[in-house]
């Protein structure tokens, strides 16, 4: 298959067109236009600069900047539906990568046969905690994505694909020119793809299956006058469930409805633990807390609303590990730990609870003078 990137002059035209689109307020398709980071496919130079998205959807990298596997790896089951075959292909992956020169993109291991028709079902993360994923396509009108043995509290934002669309058009030529579709009309509920000879690119929409709690760290200004805090690790523990099997029943449709018709969370165990932020390695520098800009640390978990009649599922313990530095940059306490417990009730999948954690000075520090740097000691 030959691909050809967008010629420079075409890029100029495309950018101009996109600017014009961006200025347009018409929204007949209930979509909004979101500028996307340049995302060249590797190694092909086909690129996306802007395109339309359904309401409520943002670029993947906005929530997960530079995602590394397993977070940055999408598992995909293709189902060959040509002439009613309904033959499920093995699990393949799209993996987000970064290459030298700052290029980023999704690398594919999925093959399609030109002329055949497929359904595309995806989820992420693809590997790691969900090695035994499966797709049940016994009922084509209600395919079931199964994601077993996930931790009930996780550093991973578990999602399922809720729509795909072809992402490029081909202009005849030798070789043909492949151009990304700015307005791909990607909608919820559609999973169909017709494989072609020259270009097989898709866009994908994904939706959350977990809830999110985001610990947003800042330091009080008075404390910072004396000390700096460098966050090294954040661990979260739930005292309600250990692991969960997620079964998602989809409802492919032409109505642009969210196709997630049912999600069953089958949980077991009594506790789960996840490290949701970790810069504790010897070569890591950690993040210094700011008085103005919060450091967000999201964690993901089995939605509390899924617990059947148990209030214990709403309790989370957060343990932060950090270094304390004086104002000269000397570590005065290394690997200090603080533990806090939070009660979070009734959240649904896709919902986020933000907890603004402000590190306040203690009584001791409030009455103290500033640290002296190499003070002179006089003995009489």
């Amino acid at each position: 298959m030959k691909r050809k990137g967008i010629a420079f002059d075409k890029i100029i035209v495309l950018v101009a067109m996109l600017m014009a689109f961006a200025a347009c307020t018409q929204d007949e398709l209930s979509v909004r236009r979101v500028p996307l980071t340049l995302m060249p496919y590797t190694p092909s130079p086909v690129t996306v600069e802007t395109r339309a998205l359904p309401d409520g959807y943002v670029p993947f990298t906005q929530l997960h900047p530079q995602p590394q596997a397993p977070q940055g790896q999408i598992g995909v089951y293709l189902v060959d539906v040509t002439n009613g075959a309904n033959k499920k292909e093995p699990l393949g992956t799209f993996t987000y990568i970064e290459q030298s020169g700052g290029k980023t993109g999704w690398v594919s291991t999925l093959g399609v046969v030109p002329g055949k028709s497929y359904k595309v079902f995806g989820f992420h993360p693809a590997k790691g905690e969900v090695d035994n994923s499966n797709l049940d396509y016994t009922n084509p009108s209600a395919p079931v994505v199964k994601l077993p043995t996930l931790k009930a509290v996780s550093e991973l934002d578990v999602c399922v694909a809720v729509g795909i669309a072809k992402g490029t058009v081909t202009t005849a030529g030798d070789p043909p020119t492949i151009t990304p579709i700015e307005d791909s009309n990607i909608t919820l509920g559609k999973f169909d793809y017709a494989a072609t000879e020259n270009d097989n690119y898709i866009y994908m929409l994904v939706d959350h299956l977990f809830s999110c709690v985001e610990f947003s760290f800042k330091i009080d200004a008075k404390y910072q006058e004396l000390r700096d805090i460098v966050l090294r690790k954040v661990e979260v523990e739930s005292n309600a469930a250990g692991q969960v099997d997620i079964t998602v029943t989809l409802n492919p449709n032409e109505l642009r409805d969210n196709p997630i018709s049912n999600v069953v969370y089958t949980y077991s165990g009594t506790s789960s633990f996840a490290t949701v932020y970790d810069k504790s390695g010897a070569t890591d520098t950690g993040d210094m807390l700011s008085t103005t800009t919060a450091l967000p640390v999201p964690g993901y978990f089995l939605p509390p609303s899924a617990y059947s009649g148990s209030s214990t599922g709403n309790s989370f313990t957060m343990k932060a590990t950090y270094d304390v530095l004086d104002k000269t940059g000397v570590i005065v306490r290394e690997g200090a730990e603080a533990t806090n417990t939070f009660s979070i009730a009734g959240m649904q999948r896709g919902q986020k609870h933000v907890i603004n954690i402000l590190v306040k000075p203690t009584y001791l520090y409030q009455l103290s003078d500033n640290d002296l740097n190499n003070p002179e000691l006089v003995f009489n």
Partner: protein, 429 residues
């Protein structure tokens, strides 16, 4: 030294029947006079070479293998029965000192007893010295033998071969051929020195292709001596194992993805079907039939004589990188082949194959592991396998038809719905 020559009406037998008696011994009290010696001849897989290509796939290969063991009972005045051949080793040897083996020999020589009613012979190959006894070392991995005789009318006689591996990775996976194919591939990125297309042969050094044979002889020929053929015990060896071979062929696929077969797995189909497990051994008893009735001990071993399960992993599970799927279209490449204990498939069930492979796209530092859905093994396009039968070869060709890559341009994710935003001050940090 006596020399016995023989002419066979069967061309395949003509090639081998020259029996030279290299030694004699005084017969015991149960022995007849030294008159006409009992000769041995083999017709390994005779008449069945078209249905099998196992390790020993023709008579010449059988002779090259070099030996077999013989049990033989002489039945005289009832209930008199004597074990004349007690696991006697018969070897293909050079009898005329020309440097080329030319006849089957055994030592010491035994003689036909014209007073006997009948002789019963059973043989197996390759020969083993290890007898299965209560004191036999259970850790001994060699094949063992045992024999049994029960008096009565008729008396029953049998011999048993035990500790036969249920699965053997076959040496004759043609490593040389595979390597030749590899070097012919126009794939500059493939470095044979860092991969292991030879693993099939390297992992196994002593495959045992077990064969057995029966013969019934009456010594009436002795009075006429019209048919020299009857001086000899003709042993028709047949494979007691089946062969399963797995090959791979590339039909289409993206050029920037490399595929490696990393494992094969057999599973039972819809209904539970017992499959012999890799790493286990089995035993089978071969019973002598009365009055020359054709022995049917070569039918597939019943599942209850095997150590079975509903799934078993074959070569080369866990191997990295595995056997590469080469992009030369329509050229088949050998993955591996096994000698396997025959087994049957439960009615209404099937044997399914699951293929494990890796796909490494350009840009990925690690290959992605892929597991196929189970697909049923078939004799042809429509008929499911119902049994793996002794002496037959089953070839499965895995076809990679991956078409073209489908790429992901971009992903959008539903934004979080903020439901709460709480302040929480912490102290004592």
């Amino acid at each position: 030294m006596k020399k016995l020559t023989f002419c066979s009406p069967f061309p395949i037998i003509l090639l081998l029947v020259l029996l030279v008696f290299v030694s004699c011994r005084k017969p015991g009290t149960d022995e007849p006079a030294e008159d006409v010696a009992i000769g041995m001849m083999s017709s390994s897989v005779a008449g069945r070479t078209s249905s099998t290509r196992a390790i020993i796939n023709n008579l010449e290969a059988f002779k090259t293998q070099g030996n077999f063991g013989v049990f033989g009972w002489k039945e005289a005045a009832s209930p008199y029965s004597l074990l004349v051949f007690d696991n006697v080793k018969v070897e293909w040897k050079d009898t005329d000192s020309d440097g080329t083996a030319d006849a089957w020999q055994y030592d010491p020589l035994r003689y036909w007893d014209k007073a006997a009613y009948r002789y019963y012979y059973g043989a197996y190959a390759p020969y083993t010295t290890k007898e299965e006894t209560s004191s036999a070392d259970p850790a001994d991995t060699d094949i063992h033998y045992a024999y049994s005789e029960t008096s009565g009318t008729p008396a029953t006689r049998s011999f048993t071969l035990s500790r036969i591996p249920q699965w053997q990775l076959a040496d004759h996976c043609d490593a040389t051929k595979l390597a030749t194919v590899e070097t012919a591939v126009n794939d500059p990125s493939f470095d044979p020195s860092t991969h292991s297309p030879y693993a099939c042969a390297e992992t196994n050094t002593s495959v045992v292709d077990v064969t057995t044979a029966y013969s019934h002889n009456t010594p009436t020929f002795y009075t006429t001596q019209q048919n020299a053929m009857n001086y000899f015990v003709q042993l028709d060896f047949r494979h007691i194992l089946a062969q399963m071979e797995f090959r791979v062929k590339f039909k289409s696929g993206p050029n920037n993805v490399k595929y490696y077969i990393t494992g094969l797995e057999l599973k039972s189909g819809a209904a539970s079907s017992e499959i012999p497990l890799v790493g286990e051994k089995f035993a089978h008893t071969y019973t002598f039939e009365q009055d020359g009735v054709t022995d049917d001990s070569f039918v597939p071993a019943a599942s209850n004589t095997l150590v079975t399960g509903t799934t078993t992993s074959l070569y080369p599970t866990g191997e990295t990188p595995g056997v590469k799927v080469i992009r030369n279209k329509d050229i088949e490449h050998l993955i591996c082949c096994y000698l396997v204990a025959p087994f049957t498939v439960a009615s209404g069930s099937s044997i399914d194959l699951v293929v494990h492979y890796t796909a490494q796209a350009v840009g990925l530092t690690e290959p992605e592991a892929v597991t196929t859905e189970p697909f049923s093994l078939k004799l042809d396009a429509s008929t499911l396998l119902t049994a793996i039968e002794a002496g037959k070869k089953y070839t499965t060709t895995i076809v990679f038809d991956k078409g073209q890559l489908i790429d992901l341009l971009d992903v959008a994710i539903s934004n979080w719905a903020d439901v709460a935003n709480n302040d929480h001050d912490v102290y004592n940090w």
